[in-house]
């Protein structure tokens, strides 16, 4: 009788402690999740920004300017172009 009570009591104690531990872990994980979500959002924003930057660098107006003025290129014309037909 006495022994059974003691066992149950210790079981109860263990359960209670593990509940506390589990809750603690859940919160920690949640905080981590929260952080990664914020990170994800930030990275997403960064990606959008980089995409925009890339677009800005590759826009027709800039390419035209760089090609003509910096690289001294000129537009191709059909008489100097070699046309290939796809092999059948």
């Amino acid at each position: 009788m006495n022994r059974a009570t003691l066992t149950l009591l210790s079981l109860l104690l263990i359960c209670a402690l593990s509940l506390v531990a589990a809750q603690q872990r859940a919160r920690k994980l949640f905080v981590a999740l929260e952080r990664t979500q914020v990170e994800e959002y930030k990275l997403n924003q960064d990606w959008l920004r980089l995409e925009y930057e890339q677009r800005n660098l590759s826009k027709s107006a800039r390419i035209r300017d760089v090609a003509r003025n910096q690289l001294r290129m000129m537009p191709i014309s059909p008489e100097r172009t070699l046309y290939l037909k796809e092999a059948k």
Binding site: P78, E79, L84
Partner: protein, 590 residues
């Protein structure tokens, strides 16, 4: 004073009446009962209220941000995107009154406003004042570093348009609330707009989120929208129009490029334009999408449809000849040509753009109803259904109201009106062997079947006539494009000033290319060219030429003109190398 012993105090001798203690006892009991009932109430039936109160203390509603969809061009290039920005808010009851002058100065310079204005904003009665909206995130960080109490940052989005003014009229723009105001941003607002979500969380004493309770509403990001516009073609069309407007000191200009196979709109260019990223000092003139919203009399660009109607009826052939003469009287005013012609064939009426010829074809071979049917079938008088705000229908009066002089003048493009877009669309019937193609501004690169307007035979005959316009002897030799055979029709229309035709002109060119297998339909308009020539063949045709050759090259269309060049069948690396070594550049001679 005589001392009194404690046990002999007279108070003890006093006897109080019994009812007073009874009353006291009763009152105490009664109050305890009340307390008990209250305690029971709080624990039991009244519990919900307190529970809600407790929840309010520890739980918060947080907004889950949702972004507006991007707008992409046909190749997936971004033409409108939302980036994070911050709004700077002052909580005026928290901002200290004795804020140091140095900090105010720094903040003012970061916000690019005067110190006086900033101080005025900080003194406003309202609790919350927006100091500045849509601030760059880096600048926002600098403001945060100033650590001024009561100055906070809020998340916002700001819309960016990398293509700037070249694409402004197509894409439109949004306001500070990220809502569409013009162009596609407005017409597709429903799909583009994001819907922020909401979630409930548990926060600790310091306001940190410790637990998720529930997501009450999932955030919905706006859908991306992919247009049929090609940024490269759009840019080159815009540039061609812009330089023509500047060269001819014109008021405005516009160009439309359509893919006749898929019905996709490849470019819609307008000048003057504006920069959608910086809309300060914007005027209505700049905002107008002239290509779609401005109505004008199409002038000679309508002649091919008059001729098609007669060819289709079988009453004439391209070789039928007719006497033209110096003038032709229908109604009160005689119809004249720019250069007098003697006898012309039907094909030459198109090539030389004879007003008298077109009027005579109408009066001799066509009924008003047949003409009206033709113009209606190619889309005049109806607004194009492409989901663009403000697209006009133009006017085409009912044929029953036409008097003979109306009929004669409609034949060469006066007395009816339409947009440049309608003209470009109408020309698809010549490109598509007689079919009018349904148009779309969203990417859909599959072949579309159109509705038949004229027979393939008539369309092919018309194509040949349209090509002669650009050949020596035609009105638009300047429309010729490098490497490609083109066909089209010039137009020079007197502008209506009030009720009379003044000395102001509109110069057009509408056409298709390449003639051997038409792929695009292009229409160009230059409004009020001054200083020098105002003819469509001189002003608008060179723009057409520039747009066509570059567009076809961008679309990888094989040149069909007689330029000498090497075309390799079944080419392997060795053949390519051999050919590239031997192929001599040939200079195109006109």
């Amino acid at each position: 004073m005589r001392p009194v012993g404690f046990s002999t105090t007279p108070n003890l001798v006093l006897r109080l009446p019994m009812w007073r203690s009874r009353l006291m006892l009763f009152l105490l009991f009664f109050v305890f009962t009340l307390l008990l009932i209250r305690a029971f109430w709080i624990q039991g039936p009244g519990n919900a209220f307190y529970e809600a109160k407790a929840v309010r203390g520890t739980q918060r509603e947080l907004e889950l941000p949702a972004s507006r969809g991007k707008i992409l061009d046909r190749n997936g290039m971004v033409i409108a995107t939302s980036l994070e920005a911050k709004s700077v808010i002052a909580y005026n009851d928290t901002v200290p009154d004795d804020l140091s002058a140095e900090k105010v100065q720094k903040l003012a310079s970061l916000l690019q406003m005067s110190e006086h204005d900033l101080r005025k904003k900080l003194k406003e009665e309202r609790k919350q004042v927006f100091l500045k909206r849509q601030v760059d995130p880096e600048l926002a960080q600098q403001i945060k570093k100033l650590e001024i109490p009561g100055i906070g940052l809020n998340n916002e989005y700001r819309r960016f348009y990398p293509e700037g003014e070249a694409m402004a009229h197509v894409v439109g723009f949004t306001n500070v609330e990220d809502r569409g105001q013009e162009g596609m941003e407005l017409s597709r607002e429903k799909d583009l707009a994001g819907h922020p979500g909401q979630r409930r969380v548990v926060v600790d004493r310091l306001g940190r989120v410790v637990e998720d309770v529930a997501i009450e509403q999932f955030p919905q990001n706006g859908k991306d929208l992919q247009l049929s516009i090609d940024s490269k073609i759009q840019y080159l069309a815009y540039n061609a129009v812009k330089s023509a407007v500047e060269q001819h000191h014109a008021k405005a200009g516009g160009a439309v490029v359509l893919d006749t196979q898929t019905g996709e709109i490849l470019a819609l260019a307008n000048y003057p334009s504006y920069n959608p990223n910086d809309r300060r000092g914007l005027v209505g003139e700049q905002l107008r999408n002239r290509v779609l919203t401005d109505m004008f009399e199409p002038g000679s660009t309508i002649k091919p449809f008059t001729v098609s109607a007669a060819l289709e009826k079988g009453v004439i052939t391209p070789n039928t000849s007719m006497a033209i003469g110096a003038s032709y009287l229908v109604g009160k005013k005689p119809i004249t040509d720019t250069h007098p012609n003697g006898t012309l064939t039907i094909a030459q009426v198109i090539q030389k753009s004879s007003n008298i010829g077109a009027a005579k074809i109408a009066m001799n071979y066509l009924s008003p109803e047949e003409m009206w049917d033709m113009y209606t079938a190619v889309g005049f008088g109806q607004a194009p259904k492409i989901g663009f705000p403000g697209a006009v229908a133009g006017t085409l009066h009912p044929f029953k109201n036409w008097v003979p002089s109306d009929q004669a003048r409609v034949a060469f493009g006066y007395g009816l009106s339409g947009s440049l877009f309608q003209v470009a669309r109408a020309y698809t019937i010549f490109a598509r062997d007689g079919e009018l193609v349904p148009l779309t501004i969203e990417r859909s690169p599959e072949f579309k079947t159109g509705t038949r307007v004229i027979s393939a035979k008539t369309a092919i005959e018309m194509r040949q006539m349209l090509e002669t316009v650009t050949l020596p002897g035609g009105t638009a030799v300047k429309a010729q494009a490098d490497g490609y055979r083109v066909g089209g029709k010039t137009g020079t229309a007197h502008k209506l000033v009030g009720k009379a035709y003044g000395n102001r002109y509109l110069a057009y060119f509408a056409g298709i290319a390449p003639i051997s297998a038409p792929r695009i339909s292009v229409a160009v308009m230059i409004d009020e060219p001054t200083g020098g020539s105002y003819y469509g063949g001189d002003v608008a045709a060179p723009v057409f030429s520039a747009i066509v050759s570059e567009t076809l090259r961008t679309l990888n269309v094989l040149p069909d003109s007689s330029v000498k060049q090497a075309v390799l069948d079944d080419a392997g690396p060795a053949e390519i190398h051999a050919a590239s070594v031997s192929a001599q550049p040939v200079v195109l001679k006109r």
